[in-house]
């Protein structure tokens, strides 16, 4: 039977009937084409939006949690309740070793400090940080550099300030890199200026960074630090990581496992989702529109093909009177339908691709593009094509069986 697929006559018949029934062919093709095009366009655009959000916030936004130490609220192992707890650097290593799914665990310190330059001063938040912070919470530098490992190793007195801080302490256009500012009466060399992003809408304002080790030394922190920022690997749930981390910390610090006050946590992902749940909405909308379009497309094609069969019933009757078997008739209608959907689907993919290229060209350029790398995966295209071919076959089957289920004479009588 597969011989017939490669038979020139089969295709001659298909091309004849398709090319000589242009309106029908075009309508059917437009149906499938439009469905695939919308699917590719929408999925691509949605992916672009998602990419652009991911670029803006990174995993930090959706998969991070802050953890800090408080006081115990339950007596445990001979300790009274109300014991003061502190996070220790040794805890961080243990967390990283023992909890699955942690991408980064970053120890951080924060303090209020009086920042002075010449005659200008401000009361600002001072943070002691590791270079890795730039990885988990992208710091967009407008000048200079961020804290580096050398700064940490040598306890350097350098600082990276926010643009807002710069505006408070410097004149317009004034060069800041290489100048000194005083933080709590100690001189620091300004090595970088960064611009706050959307990320900085969450949590306290981070005005001035100094190396973690410098902070330790200057504020006499020893092994202890203020709070911990954990970012989970994309495939892990941050909620679970938070629970595991707190439990381990309680264990390490001899705190009752059910003490809920001992370690505090702030799940940024949850907060983020609350504020930016339109992203979820977008995904939902995409799928909804995509599926609705597909269904509508299916109905449209089905209708067109059914009309087609009605209009072709007489022709089918004639063919049967001339000796065509039902199988031969069904086969031909199905080949037509499958061929139509494949060709139309490919056109849809091509035009959809062009639309994505155009979207990328007009909306996808530059640092703060709305869409980043608007694209669909080969898998999605493959699935879309398979779905349309399967639907094409199924839809082809309906009229094919309808056309052969009646007696030839009833088909012939059709006007």
């Amino acid at each position: 039977m597969f011989k017939f697929i490669f038979d020139k006559d089969t295709w001659q018949e298909v091309f004849d009937s398709l090319s000589k029934n242009k309106l029908r062919t075009i309508l059917t093709m437009v149906g499938v084409w439009w469905g695939i095009l919308l699917l590719v366009g929408l999925l691509g655009a949605a992916r672009g939006l998602e990419n652009s959000f991911n670029r803006m916030f990174g995993d930090f936004a959706t998969n991070s949690v802050f953890i800090w130490a408080g006081n115990t609220s339950k007596p445990f192992k001979g300790f009274q309740e109300g014991k003061r707890l502190r996070l220790k650097l040794s805890d961080v290593a243990k967390l990283e070793d023992n909890i699955e799914g942690i991408e980064f665990a970053v120890a951080r310190n924060m303090n209020q400090g009086l920042v002075v330059r010449d005659f200008l001063s401000a009361n600002l938040n001072v943070l002691g940080d590791f270079p890795v912070l730039d990885k988990v919470k992208k710091r967009n530098l407008v000048a200079g550099r961020f804290i580096n490992q050398n700064d940490i190793d040598n306890h350097k007195k350098v600082t990276v300030i926010s643009e807002d801080t710069y505006k408070q302490l410097y004149e317009k256009e004034e060069e800041a890199i290489g100048t000194y500012i005083q933080i709590n009466s100690i001189n620091y060399l300004v090595v970088g200026i960064y611009q706050k992003g959307m990320i900085d809408n969450f949590g306290p304002s981070e005005d001035v960074y100094i190396p973690f080790s410098t902070f330790q030394q200057v504020y006499n922190q020893g092994d202890k630090f203020g709070f911990l920022m954990i970012t989970g690997k994309p495939e892990y749930k941050i909620g679970q990581i938070e629970q595991d981390a707190k439990l381990l910390l309680k264990n390490l610090n001899e705190v009752h496992p059910e003490d809920n006050q001992a370690f505090g946590g702030f799940n940024l992902g949850k907060e983020f989702a609350k504020r930016y749940n339109f992203l979820t909405g977008m995904q939902f909308l995409t799928w909804f529109v995509g599926i609705a379009t597909l269904i509508a497309g299916v109905f449209a094609i089905g209708n067109i093909l059914l009309i087609t069969v009605k209009e072709r019933t007489k022709e089918i009757g004639v063919r049967r009177a001339l000796g065509a078997t039902p199988f031969e008739i069904q086969r031909q209608i199905i080949v037509e339908a499958v061929f139509l959907t494949i060709v139309a689907g490919m056109f849809g993919v091509i035009i959809g691709g062009w639309i994505l290229i155009a979207l990328d060209h007009f909306l996808g350029q530059g640092e703060d593009a709305i869409l980043v790398n608007a694209s669909v995966s080969i898998l999605v295209l493959f699935i879309a094509m398979v779905v349309s071919v399967v639907l094409g076959t199924l839809i082809g089957l309906i009229p094919a069986f309808k056309a052969t289920s009646v007696k030839p004479i009833d088909a012939l009588r059709e006007e």
Partner: protein, 248 residues
């Protein structure tokens, strides 16, 4: 050279078809319309039979059953020695393709295919190669005098030409029995005679022909007239054939 048959009926001939006590009714709402009420008919090889009767008497119904386009409710039907009963649609298609040629009142050409392609279609379903098909189709078109028109679409042809294409198509697969339902019904009398001339020529060559007609003059160009009334055959006579040639 065409061999003039002396008379096929006189020699030891085969039965082309045999029908015994055939009934057919159509359901109409709750009741049913009994159209054929016990038809008995035998047609031999080489005959040319006209089926006549008033409108609604069941002529087309009978012809369609003979052509396996429709099924009888009861009775026997033997075509060329084969009992036709409870055939699968696949078998029926095969028989239609091998034994039968159809000519319809409304031509029933496929409108997007050229005259040549229309004639070649039954050969396609026989599985013949493209080249052979085209040659054979061209040969049959030539026989009905339409060589020049082979690449025209049906809409570019006159009624008479369309019917000639239909005749060529019916003949393409070299059937034993030609069934024609009012083949001249849509044509003026001049064109009708022309068509009848072709059909008579075919009969002269040995094809068995069954045709339904309303017109006495057309019926008289056959060799036998069967008259239907109230679902039975009320008259069945052999006649002397009027040749169509003289009117063309």
């Amino acid at each position: 050279m065409i061999v003039k048959p002396i008379s096929y009926n006189d020699i030891n001939v085969n039965k082309m078809l045999e029908i015994r006590n055939l009934h057919k009714s159509y359901p109409i709402g709750d009741s049913s319309l009994h159209v054929l009420k016990g038809i008995n008919l035998t047609v031999e090889d080489g005959e040319m039979v006209a089926i006549m009767g008033s409108s609604g008497s069941g002529k087309s119904t009978l012809l369609n059953i003979i052509g396996m386009l429709d099924e009888a409710d009861s009775g026997e039907y033997i075509l060329d020695g084969l009992p036709i009963k409870n055939l699968t649609e696949k078998k029926a298609a095969l028989y239609r393709n091998k034994f039968l040629g159809f000519i319809f009142q409304s031509f029933n050409l496929i409108n997007y295919k050229t005259a040549l392609e229309n004639v070649a279609l039954p050969l396609y379903y026989q599985g013949m190669s493209r080249k052979e098909r085209q040659e054979l189709a061209m040969f049959h078109l030539g026989k009905v005098g339409l060589t020049e028109w082979s690449h025209h679409l049906p809409k570019e042809l006159s009624g008479g030409q369309k019917q000639r294409v239909a005749i060529a198509r019916a003949l393409a697969a070299n059937p034993k029995l030609l069934l024609a339902d009012e083949p001249t019904g849509a044509l003026d009398s001049g064109t009708s005679y022309e068509i009848m001339k072709f059909i008579q020529d075919l009969n002269d060559e040995g094809k068995t022909i069954l045709m339904v007609t309303h017109e006495e003059d057309i019926a008289n160009m056959c060799k036998r007239i069967v008259r239907l009334r109230d679902g039975v055959i009320m008259e069945d006579t052999k006649i002397t054939q009027v040749r169509a040639q003289q009117y063309v």
